[in-house]
């Protein structure tokens, strides 16, 4: 049996079943980056029954809404969320693909109005799924993004 090298958390969110190597992107999607104050621990390339190798992220001291958590599905569609309160799992669920995301992605079309620095505009993408492929469609110009992590703001 494998012993996890990161400690249990008292109150916070555990994001499990992240494809290995994507933990940092998950943090980015949650808006956690250099200078953020949350306590974060990460385990990368952990052995997993379901997916061979996976990453795990634990965030303490930040309330993350379900809407924010669902954004994770764009890069980790099988991620599971454990909400921890007082060392116990209060809730457990799988991320769901959001219908639309705003301000999260940048449109690859340089001539799209959402890339015009002069305008008070927030990027907006509709998320679609065909078979196993998740892609984003710009609500302004219709451009499709297949490699979503390349266009995280």
């Amino acid at each position: 049996m494998n012993v996890l090298t990161i400690s249990k958390i008292k109150d916070g969110t555990v994001i499990d079943h992240i494809p290995s190597g994507k933990a940092l992107e998950v943090l980015r999607i949650l808006g956690i980056r250099r200078g953020s104050r949350e306590r974060v621990s990460m385990a990368m390339n952990v052995e997993s029954k379901k997916m061979k190798r996976k990453d795990i992220v634990k965030v303490e001291g930040k309330f993350i809404s379900e809407e924010e958590l669902n954004r994770i599905s764009l890069i980790a569609p099988d991620a599971t969320i454990n909400i921890i309160e007082n060392f116990e799992i209060r809730r457990k669920f799988r991320v769901r693909i959001p219908e639309r995301v705003e301000g999260l992605l940048r449109c690859p079309n340089g001539n799209c109005i959402s890339n015009d620095g002069k305008e008070p505009v927030t990027s907006a993408f509709r998320i679609e799924k065909s078979e196993n492929l998740v892609f984003a469609v710009c609500m302004y110009c219709g451009k499709k993004i297949y490699e979503i992590e390349e266009y995280l703001v």
Binding site: N109, N111, I113, S114, K118, P120, Y140, C141, G142
Partner: protein
Amino acid sequence: MSRFRHLISIDDLERDDIEHILSKADSFVEIARGEKSSGILEGKILANLFFEPSTRTRMSFESAMKRLGGEVINLGSVEASSIAKGESLADTVRVVSGYADCIVIRHYREGSARFASVVSEVPVINAGDGAGQHPTQTLLDLYTIKKEVGLKNLRIALVGDLKYSRTVHSLIKALAHFGAEMLLVSPEALKLPDELKENGSFAECDLEYAVENADVIYVTRIQKERFPDEEEYRKVAGSYRITAEMLKNSSAVIMHPLPRVDEISYDVDSLPNAIYFRQAFYGVPVRMAILTEVML
């Protein structure tokens, strides 16, 4: 009740909405010709916001509005106005939506019309957003087909630049609603992108086959800029040119979004096949149908 508040993309319309606009357009034909008068939009003001020139589209909207008794105000020269001073599109739209009951916008950026509809207090009609959408053109193309040959069991040949022509792309999507059979006639370098072939029935063929077999030949311009050198362009463009000689035994009608350069020879104009000037006229009753839909 209006079926839609804004008209931004043909993709926003169901087949039902399209048919509604087309049959409504029918009731405006005589008014558009000036044979009957109407004051149905009296007291209403349309604002034309053309950030890039498209005289024909702008005039067609003006004609439609004025023949229905409404007034039109124009942005005027972009250089002279506040846009040159760096005002955002959002501010321009917000200000102008206080002056008018409807905004028609043409802008060089994709998505601009959608954005305008978000910030505007009044309905917005997209008259072309960069390489994006131009739904009133698509609706007038559909109306022309319906009027001249019917949309049922239609076999239409699309000729010329099928890769970049937004007119063709929108028309294809709209025609898919009506089960049309589409014949694709284009040079190798300007073929229709595969992602546009998801819905509908498509076959590639040459111009000769198209002329003999299609009900409609929809011709678009092949642009010089798409080719590495002028000689290559001339060779290719020349072989996609429609002439009267070619149409000797053909009953296909010829459509073109205009302006044409030389993809349809002038000797075609006097043939019964040529319907591209009527097509341009139909823009007026179709825009009347749209203007009344969003304003009344």
